[in-house]
């Protein structure tokens, strides 16, 4: 038995076994269970199939479109901010004239060390609806405006969430782009300089095309992060539901229905739809990077 276990044929399976078991238990089974539940009415002691009833209820639910709208708006806004700016900052940090890049990269990275809980309530208090909180004090005293009720109106609330995301993710995206930049051979830049290209031409014709793999990666994780956003909004509204659902996201909708109200069927149906969307994005990403590989060869 012992010798058999040690054979080079069996050993690799023993090595990957823990992954197979946990993947089966908490991924395959979980997804299967979610799909099944999405066609069931799930109550304690009473579970029965109700066909597409959950999906029908989902699409007639008035807060579901709001959740989708919020998640998509949030995702798009974070993409607009969190891709071009970190890329630009990375190029600037990487430039030969820059001093102390590692130091500044470290500082911009710091927010990621802070748990979302601490970050969330810190931002809530920084944007408090009094003229003494940092942001409103700045608006009133320096800009001469009125206090903005950040957590009560739709667009201020959305901006607050995007500002929070910007604070947290700028640093890591800079790191991604920096590692992408460092993989570009120096010779290419030298060749570029010899051809007399200016900084803008160099950026447009050399840096951005060669950063494409990094760009696709950052784009994908930003979309996932955006669509899966929930804890941020839970922290901003301290676990209560937001006025007119201005802070409700798709995952928030799943949590609200599945955990708080125990409507597992409806929540599972939502989860399954979200899963399909994410898988589609996944496929698109693979296709994008696959096409890229063919170009390179």
């Amino acid at each position: 038995m012992k010798r058999k276990l040690n054979s080079q044929k069996i050993a690799p399976y023993v090595f990957v076994l823990p992954f197979v078991i946990l993947f089966g238990m908490f991924f395959v089974y979980a997804i299967g269970n979610m799909i099944v539940m999405s066609f069931q009415s799930v109550n304690i002691g009473d579970i029965h199939f109700i066909k597409f009833e959950n999906y029908r209820m989902l699409f007639s639910n008035s807060s579901f479109p709001i959740a989708i709208r919020n998640s998509i708006t949030y995702t798009i806004l974070t993409l607009i901010v969190l891709i071009p700016f970190p890329m630009l900052f990375a190029v600037m940090l990487n430039s030969k004239s820059m001093r102390g890049s590692d130091f500044f990269r470290g500082i911009l990275f710091l927010p990621l060390l802070c748990s979302i809980v601490v970050a969330g309530f810190t931002f809530r208090f920084l944007f408090n609806e009094t003229n003494a909180s940092l942001v409103n004090a700045f608006i009133v005293n320096v800009l001469g405006g009125d206090i903005i009720p950040w957590t009560r109106l739709r667009w201020p609330a959305m901006s607050l969430l995007v500002i929070l995301a910007t604070w947290r993710w700028t640093g890591i995206n800079i790191v991604y782009f920096l590692s992408g930049l460092n993989s570009i051979p120096v010779e290419l830049y030298e060749a570029c300089d010899m051809d007399g290209a200016n900084a803008w031409q160099r950026l447009r014709c050399l840096t951005i095309p060669l950063l494409k793999p990094t760009l696709i990666y950052v784009l994908t994780i930003s979309i996932y992060g955006g669509l899966a956003m929930f804890v941020e909004s839970q922290m901003i509204w301290a676990g209560k539901s937001s006025p007119n659902n201005i802070g409700l996201t798709i995952v928030g909708f799943i949590y609200q229905n599945g955990i708080s109200q125990g409507n597992l069927g409806l929540a599972s149906a939502t989860g399954f739809l979200l899963l399909i969307v994410v898988l589609a994005i996944n496929l698109a990403q693979l296709k994008l990077s696959g096409a890229l590989d063919r170009e390179n060869n």
Partner: protein, 287 residues
């Protein structure tokens, strides 16, 4: 001609570029540090000031108090129980996850076997599905396994962490395959090779992943929130939010406790910045 022009143009212009770049990043760094400065300053204010004013960068003798920290360390509350729980979960989860994931990663990196590619695609797929989508069925499984309110319930689902497996596989693939043969000649079993030959040379990879998993575990909120309901078992992030809840408005403990929860990571970051950045940017490593 271009060469001549650029060399006459360079020195002065270069200095201007450097100065403006550095100034710009000083400004940016200041903006990014504001929340940290604000929470640190607020931890020296009393509760009513915090509720009335929120966070800002002002500090005045009237609102200044040193009482929050003595209260944090000696007051009658569960803060250090939560801190201890978090420390326990973080350390255990990190050690176990690294071990299990390195074990699996070694299998992927050094052996050829049937179904390997399919299994590795599974690793990649798991890496790409956000946890939030699956939290509900996963929670149901933890309930039926009777693991709620147990720390193992928090750790179990991601012990074979796809990101860590991916990272270790990448790292190990760069090593020469001859190690395996050398070990076999010396009479090691396949598993002995892993423990005696492979693990010692994985130290840098372990360091980077320890940071990644440790940070994730220390700051993890949503999953422990589902698994834990007994306040004696709370980890720090959940304990802190419970202070914000309807039954407690213990803002001074919240703020000083938050400072105390960020501090250990800040110190670690200062000491091992390289490993942090390497560990946290794992995903973008190209396969």
């Amino acid at each position: 001609m271009t060469k001549a022009r650029s060399s006459t143009r360079k020195p002065g212009e270069k200095r201007v570029t450097t100065v403006s770049l550095v100034l710009f990043f000083c400004f940016l760094a200041f903006i990014f540090l504001i929340p940290f400065i604000a929470i640190l300053l607020t931890s020296f204010k009393d509760s009513s000031t915090i509720i009335r004013n929120g966070f800002n960068l002002q500090i005045s003798p009237e609102t200044f108090t040193l009482e929050n920290y003595p209260y944090l360390f000696t007051g009658d509350h569960d803060y250090f129980r939560w801190f201890g729980n978090s420390l326990f979960v973080t350390i255990t989860q990190t050690v176990l996850t690294l071990l299990v994931s390195a074990w699996v990663g070694f299998g992927f990196a050094f052996y050829k076997f049937k179904g390997k590619n399919l299994l590795f695609v599974c690793v990649l797929i798991e890496m790409m599905i956000p946890f939030e989508i699956l939290m509900l069925p996963m929670y149901r499984e933890i309930v039926s396994l009777k693991l709620t309110n147990h720390f193992i319930g928090i750790m179990l689902p991601y012990l074979a962490h796809p990101m860590a497996i991916f990272f270790f596989r990448q790292y190990l693939q760069s090593l020469p395959k001859e190690i395996l043969d050398a070990g076999r000649i010396d009479g090691c079993s396949e598993y002995g090779i892993f423990f005696r030959l492979i693990m010692p040379i994985m130290k840098p990879a372990f360091a980077a992943m320890a940071i990644y998993v440790g940070m994730y575990s220390w700051n993890n909120y949503l999953w422990p929130l589902l698994v834990l309901s007994d306040s004696k078992k709370f980890t720090l992030p959940i304990g802190l939010t419970s202070l914000l809840g309807p039954y407690g408005n213990n803002y001074t403990l919240l703020v000083s406790g938050a400072v105390m929860s960020v501090l250990p990571i800040m110190i670690l970051f200062y000491l091992a910045q390289r490993f942090f950045i390497e560990g946290m940017s794992t995903g973008s490593v190209k396969g």
